[in-house]
């Protein structure tokens, strides 16, 4: 099994395109740093306390106005709640002396997690090609003539795709960390993250942990889009088809989600649950759905998608 994995890795990393993709990723991230800081420089981040105190004053005065029955400005309960929460958070921040993340080292790393969607595209390319290219190049015949079972070969391919994904995600984090430390220095490495959930509880955790959670949540959709690409690649043995369908799914999923939300069965749709942050923040797209339910739906999809791939790959006559 280990040797199978070595082989699959060799097929991924012995190709130029893998390194070109990595280079594109690093260049785009570097470009994003240059755009942000290359011309303007940093001056906003100097004194967060002053800014925070100012914001507290602002919030207090507008809240006072909103709650005053004589005021002309009317405010609904929801916005009121949001403002109250923000006030609570800022006060807590000043009290505990926890800097906001925006213009810190970790802030950069968090901001750069947006590049995970680019990683998804690259991973889709690798996943789509993994099985399909063996068929189109005819090498599948030699591969299946080895004593290893088809299931193991497929598993090795699947795992190698996610090793590649891990490599790319780590590359994003590392580049962001390096870029961030160039701009902000490495003083903020031990920072703490602070936020307030919708239900009014404070969350306080180490920034490294928070960053890993943020990236991890991004990776949920990565896993599914890559799995779908892998499935299509196995079913149709065409990498072009697998890449295009997977990428279309990746971009249409948010639109489709909005469209299906009006129906009862929306809670069983994969795309609705791909962003798990909604359950962490306590603001689910569909009221009454919680984390365990979402995770079970995701797990069911995961098993079914991979089951189909496995079944087809094992049963297929290779011509």
């Amino acid at each position: 099994m280990f040797n199978l994995l070595l082989n699959e890795n060799m097929k991924i990393y012995r190709r130029w395109r893998t390194w070109i993709m990595s280079a594109i990723l690093i260049l785009l991230m570097a470009f994003s740093f240059v755009i942000t800081y290359g011309f303007v420089g940093i001056d906003e981040a100097t004194d967060w306390r002053a800014q925070s105190e100012e914001r507290v004053m602002q919030l207090k005065s507008s809240l006072a106005e909103a709650t005053n029955p004589n005021s002309e400005q009317m405010m609904d309960a929801e916005s009121l709640k949001v403002m109250q929460n923000e006030l609570k958070l800022e006060q807590h921040r000043l009290e505990k002396d926890i800097a906001p993340t925006n213009y810190t080292l970790w802030g950069e790393v968090l901001r750069m997690s947006a590049f995970v969607s680019l990683v998804i595209i690259f991973v889709v390319i690798i996943a789509a090609d993994s099985v399909a290219s063996e068929f189109s190049a005819g090498t599948i015949k030699l591969l299946l003539l080895q004593p290893a079972s088809r299931s193991k070969i497929l598993l090795a391919k699947y795992l190698s795709v996610f090793l590649f994904a891990l490599f790319m995600v780590l590359l994003v984090m590392a580049t962001a960390l390096i870029g961030g430390s160039i701009v902000h220095g490495i003083g903020g490495l031990g920072d703490t993250y602070l936020s307030l959930t919708a239900s009014g509880e404070f969350i306080e955790r180490n920034m490294l942990l928070h960053t890993l959670i943020t990236y991890g949540l991004q990776c949920v959709s990565l896993v599914f889009v890559a799995t779908i690409a892998f499935l299509i690649s196995t079913v149709f043995r065409s990498s072009v088809m697998a890449i295009s369908i997977a990428i279309v799914i990746q971009f249409l999923a948010p639109v489709a989600t909005i469209f299906v939300l009006q129906y009862d069965w929306a809670k069983f749709i994969l795309f609705v649950h791909m962003d798990l942050t909604q359950y962490l923040n306590g603001t689910p797209l569909i009221k009454g759905i919680d984390m365990p339910f979402a995770v079970s739906v995701l797990a069911a999809y995961f098993i079914v998608l991979n089951g189909i791939t496995w079944l087809l790959f094992n049963r297929r006559d290779v011509a």
């Binding site: 040797n3 199978l4 060799m10 012995r14 003539l145 004593p147 079972s149 006559d317």
Partner: protein, 397 residues
Amino acid sequence: MGVFLRKKKVFLNCSEYVNRHRNGTTTQGDEFVGKNKRKRAEVNNQSTVTNGVNRAQQESEQQPEQQSEQQSEQLEYESELRQGPVLILRNVSKVIGRRKIVDNVSFEVPRGEIFGFLGPNGAGKTTTIRLIVGLMRMSEGEVLINGYSIKSDFAKAIMKVGAVVENPEMYKYMTGYQNLVHFARLIPGIGKERIEEVVKLVRLETRIHEKVSKYSLGMRQRLGIAQALLRKPDLLILDEPTNGLDPAGIREMRDYLREVAQTEGTAVFVSSHLLAEMELMCDRVAIIQQGQLKAVKPVRELVRMQGKKAVVFEVEQKEEALHEIRKYLLERASQGEVLERGAELVDDGVELVLEREQIADLNNRFAEAGVRVYGIRHSKVSLEDSFLELTGGEQVV
């Protein structure tokens, strides 16, 4: 010390096996074609002995001591399996849709034999090969390799099969060497030495570190064969192996396959639609047409199939010659003998089918009648004729 003892024990098992094996080959002897076959079988036995010892060494190094009993039993069991044919097909059929692509095919290939699989394009050659190596599932029947069923015991069955199915397709973005490393990783006990050995065997030393995308078809063919040989196969399956090779390459390959079959006792299964190639290369040939096996015969028998040979008398007085022939044939016919076909005029004389004695008789007649004979020769009945006869004259190639 313990290691040494065990080695000895295993060695005894092997020699016992060799005796059995020898008996086995002599009973099979009539299926083979005479003397040099027997020689080959002996060479074959010797090499199996050395193989056996090597294997015993490897195994005894790996296994803890108390398992030596089981181990030699296992070896004995395996050697029993190794007595029989390497490849057995029993009533193999493949149905796709309503069509029977392969229809009830059965044959066996013993060790050390080069077995030709001959048929026109689309006859089911490649499909049969795919069924043998498990790339396709058969609808009916079974395939046994070294006694292991390809269906139920895939890993064990395929372990000793080296094959190139259709074109020798490799990973083009890797070098030849990297490709071999890739395949070597999947078979236990194959190291760098073996890779270098096979590279040398197929004469790719100078270019093995180039990317496969730069290889010619002939070089890819060689790389494919190198890949198949990595695991020291008991059964080597090559699908149209001479495709893309120049005449020198074809000859080289032929010699090479002979060598592998003779020294290592490997059974070689070669498919082709090139009749002349088969005639030179193979010991036995199976002819397949529309998925059905038409015949399995030693090549020589196939060539000799008509029994009597066509003879050409080189003469210039063709009319007189024909007259004499007619007289001779009439005499024969009056004695109740019917000749297969009459005489035909050819460029430099007359041709007809005769038995040995009749050739001498007719020559005497010509001498008496004053027809001057400049030469008598057999016109060669090739495999092609037999093939066309067997397949009812369907277009080949």
